[in-house]
Symmetry: C2
Subunit: 211 residues, 2 copies
């Protein structure tokens, strides 16, 4: 045989099960049955359920981390274009991995072991980019390109708008949410909302009020 076809099939089935039901809700027998292999095979290729899960989680975390980092790397263009481009890439990534945020969020929150790890990772990968972004935002505000804004608030606005729809889609798809054309419109909507948010206010008073 010598091919790791079975191993791959099991891993993919595990991925689907874990993403849908989480670690606690997933049964190794279900993974095996979804993969169409004997249950003993699962333990032949992967020692334990935990190990199989770690593999899936690590891969997904890496995927997620890369998507964030790559988005932050955009630079050397006007701030509004930069934000717009970053949002677009972020949205596309989510569309390709719609169940990822819910999965990571849940496993991390419901399992103490991962919480500490995740919090550290967030602090580490977020702190410097956050400072840089704030600097760029301040500079752009100084030039009158955009209004003054706190980087965390901006990022939270963007993340909220981009991520949330994908999270709730399975439940609210009956009222017209979901599907290619919806997400196309949604992407435009999200970027529009943020662009408007960044626009310098005509009445200078307002700047002071909110910042």
């Amino acid at each position: 045989m010598r091919d790791n076809k079975t191993e791959k099939i099991i891993l993919e089935a595990a991925e689907q099960e874990f993403l849908l039901k989480g670690f606690a809700g997933t049964r190794t027998t279900e993974i095996a049955s979804r993969a169409g292999v004997n249950h003993a095979m699962l333990h032949y290729y992967f020692d334990t359920k935990e190990q199989l899960f770690e593999k899936v989680l690590a891969e997904k975390m890496e995927l997620f981390r890369n998507s964030v980092v790559s988005v932050f790397e955009i630079n050397e263009m006007p701030i509004k274009e930069m934000v717009s481009e970053a949002m677009s890439r972020h949205f596309d990534f989510l569309q390709a991995n719609p169940s990822l945020p819910r999965f990571l969020l849940n496993e991390v929150i419901s399992r103490q072991e991962y919480m500490a790890r995740a919090r550290q990772a967030v602090t580490k990968i977020a702190e410097e980019p956050l400072r840089n972004l704030q600097q760029r935002l301040d500079d752009a505000a100084e030039c009158g390109e955009i209004c003054r804004i706190d980087a965390i608030m901006l990022l939270m606005d963007i993340a909220s708008l981009n991520i949330f729809a994908f999270m709730v889609e399975p439940i609210v798809s009956s009222v017209g949410i979901g599907g290619e054309s919806f997400y196309q419109a949604r992407k435009a909507e999200n970027i529009r909302v943020i662009m408007q948010r960044l626009t310098p206010n005509s009445e200078p008073l307002c700047n002071e009020m909110y910042y």
Copy 2:
């Protein structure tokens, strides 16, 4: 004895465990130990784990439903004030129940039994208010009070902004998210973003472009 003190203690402990770890991740022994009662007591007051869970879920769903309905009931004021007031109430509700959205989302998505139920509930409670809202938005746009906007997009914007921060708070609290003063600023930010979104555009071209 005749007081149902123990019963209440168990129910509250169950609520905490379920909200944190979900149905599959929760152990009845853990609930009992959190409640500080003998494990057998749990089955004395509540026949099964499933039954205990149903009680918690039903209560939380009702709470959630009421919060949505009550927000939709606001009327008889200018559209922008109405939206602003609704957002404010919605935000306050979430601040009082920060882990509710994640819990409901997860249980509903990871357990098929609940999915059908939830989808029906959404369709039923959302359809009419959605039509009414669209009507009001269209009327207000006609008068030039706001720009044209699709009701679903607006609601999705609002829900995203209001809910998301509470969902991720446990993970990102290390970078300054969370706490009374943060949420106060966050609430203002969310309302501001939506108010700007509703503002009629100065260049009439833009209206056509996005709608």
